[in-house]
Amino acid sequence: MATHPISIDSAGGEYMEAVLVIAWAVKSGDPVKAGDLLVTVETAKAATEIEADRDGWLAEIFFAEGQEAPVGAVLGTIADEKPIAGKPASIAPTTAAAAESNPREPVASEAPSSIRQPGSRAIASPLARRLAAAAGLDLATISGSGPHGRIKKRDIDATLAALSNEHDGAVQRTPAAGQTPSVAAPALARQTAPVVLIHGFGADGSVWRQVVPLLGPGIETISLDLPGHGAEAARPAKSIEEIAFLLSDRLEDMGVGNAHLVGHSLGGAAALALARLGRLAVRSATLLSPGGLGPEINAGFIAGLARATTAQALERWLTVMVGDPSALPGGYAQAALRQMEKTGNRDALAAMAESLFPDGTQGFDLAGALAELTVPTRLLWGRLDRIIPVAHAARAPGFTAVHLLDGIGHVAQIEAPALAARLITETVRSAG
């Protein structure tokens, strides 16, 4: 059966190395016509729709919703003939980058034949058990090489190495015949508490793009768009409490009952408000230049960000975000502007800015919420932050680890992604 790749070579992924699969419009086995919407992916700052280039049937999906795919990867295939149920067509992905890319998902699809039945206890050494738990690996998906099939450290190491190789693109993996690629919602595949990422004002989930691939193995992330932002552009919020409620509702819908929180700027304030709300069991908190710890905020920046209509203007404001403007990815402002225009959230942003930051002041105080946290908590703040003064870090209670970053401005996750990823990973790991 001849199949044809669905690729994202020309899908506008020029600013990033990876795209996020947002939604498949058709299911495996569905008929498609040339021009039909197949899949929506998110590139640097824009959602891109990929259409069918021929008539046929959607044969295979290699990247499930919520997974990241390298630019150039084959996302799935269209078959000329109707696929036989349970026997999907098999082709080798045609580009080097084509591989299932999300290393943080357990590798159920390539589990060896000797894996245990669900519910039965895996035989594993105490060390292997501990390492698997730390890495978020499900022992049921790992085959043991020790006596009586016992899972040992070397089996965990091998699994992690395989995941890491996939992540580096060093190993190509073709979905094996007879196996249905996992298209389950992230909530169903989750093994450990996920890391919920909350971006700042005027941004969206893409601010975490550089950090996410650098997080430790086994750490699963969920990026939430703030109300009035990104995918939630149509639903703005007027107060930090309302933001917390809306985020909490979305997490509940996803089946997320406990999570590690990572928040940047307004997202940091939202994380604290979310914790204070008490509906989510918070396992740890990593806050990057969070709002809510003092009254000062760069009102000019907020207004400029909300009002900018040209890439040039926006770029001027975006350079204020960082300690070193060269840290901003090329074309970042243009991509940001395109996304803002596309989703039309400029008015929503302006309205939110007015209610959240009246008279150029942070209209909410979350120092109390921070003080009430009983979980590992870490604060990252660039010493060159020109949006929210680094002096606010001094309000952190004693149990909080405070990292003041030299040469870094307001967006450590973009300016120092490796360090940000390391510190997020350490916070998550320390919470167990």
Binding site: S125, P126, L127, A128, R129, R130, G146, P147, R150, K152, K153
Partner: protein
């Protein structure tokens, strides 16, 4: 540094401590005129006289009770029990007197005596002169039990034992007396309760004391040929036990073989295994393996005795099995 035999190192320790402290005195069977059956006390009666180096009748029970009372009344006796096989005769004084007086009299009584003895097989000495009864002794709270493997530790730990205010059982090995090693000059002591890493390794930790350290080091050579990097930890003290050293090594290698020349059932190797699980369970990548004497008397026949005693080859086999 001086090259010395293990027995000479012990002799030097006794001489130095007797010179430094007039309350130190020695007694035991054949230790004076004969110089001890393993010549550890050779020349000491000549140097210190018959009051401080005393030959005694054959009565281990009376001798140990004598050590207890002498220690309680202000001296630092060093008693030699010729064979560890006779330790059961000393047990009443150890279990019912020496080990408990400090507790029941609220610390008002010091018990600074050393009971030196030697045990272990491999010399064709038969069922009544070959045992290592260290497990039996280490079971008793309130006494220290040490078993050095090198001449340097023999000297340094015997000096520390004599200065200790608790009863110390000092276990020697008949096949170690003639081993040689560098011994630091001067008044160097080795603290009791501290292990020593004899060889660094990354794949498996082997814990041993006394003569079994020698076997473990040979096993490490065999294992190296197998491509296994073994870490050899000489525990030196059975009680108090250096748990931190054990945990540190296990945390590195995640595998362990515990070696003890005594019987397996209720033996010291079992105690080590349980200790490892108490403190380092989550570091273990495989069950702890034991290399011990089987649960039966040591035969006089040399081939049979050799077949029974834990050895480098048996340690190697246990290590390879653990690493599967």
């Amino acid at each position: 540094m001086a090259m010395m035999r293990y027995a000479e190192a012990l002799n030097a320790a006794l001489r130095e401590e007797m010179q430094a402290d007039p309350s130190v005195f020695l007694f035991g069977e054949d230790i004076g005129r004969y110089g001890g059956v393993f010549k550890v006390t050779k020349g000491l009666m000549e140097e210190f006289g018959e009051t401080r180096v005393r030959d005694t009748p054959i009565s281990e029970q009376a001798l140990t009770a004598m050590a207890v009372t002498a220690a309680m009344t202000g001296t630092r006796p060093v008693l030699e029990i010729m064979y560890a096989d006779f330790v059961p005769l000393t047990l009443d004084a150890l279990v019912n007197q020496a080990s408990i007086y400090n507790y029941i009299w609220n610390g008002q009584v010091k018990m600074p005596f050393v009971l030196r003895t030697q045990g272990g097989g491999g010399a064709g000495a038969g069922a009544q002169h070959s045992k290592a009864l260290d497990s039996m002794l280490a079971h008793i709270p309130g006494i220290k039990v040490v078993a050095p493997s090198t001449p340097a530790d023999a000297k340094g730990m015997l000096k520390a034992a004599i200065r200790d205010d608790q009863p110390v059982v000092f276990l020697e090995h008949k096949l170690l007396y003639n081993t040689r090693g560098e011994v630091p000059d001067g008044d160097e002591t080795v603290p009791l309760g501290k292990a020593a890493t004899m060889r660094e390794g990354s794949d498996i930790s082997i814990f041993a004391t006394s003569k079994m350290v020698v076997e473990a080091l040979k096993a490490a050579d065999l294992l190296a040929a197998d491509g296994v990097s073994a870490e050899i930890v000489d525990l030196r003290s059975l009680r108090p036990l250096d748990v931190n050293a054990i945990v540190a090594s296990i945390s590195k290698t995640h595998h362990a073989v515990v070696v003890n020349e005594g019987w397996r059932f209720c033996g010291y190797a079992a105690e080590l295994s349980a200790t490892i699980m108490d403190h380092a369970f989550d570091e273990l990548d495989a069950p702890v393996a034991r290399a011990t004497l089987p649960d039966m008397p040591i035969p006089y026949s040399e081939p049979l005795e050799t077949a029974m005693l834990p050895s480098a080859e048996k340690i190697r086999t246990a290590a390879l099995k653990t690493l599967k």
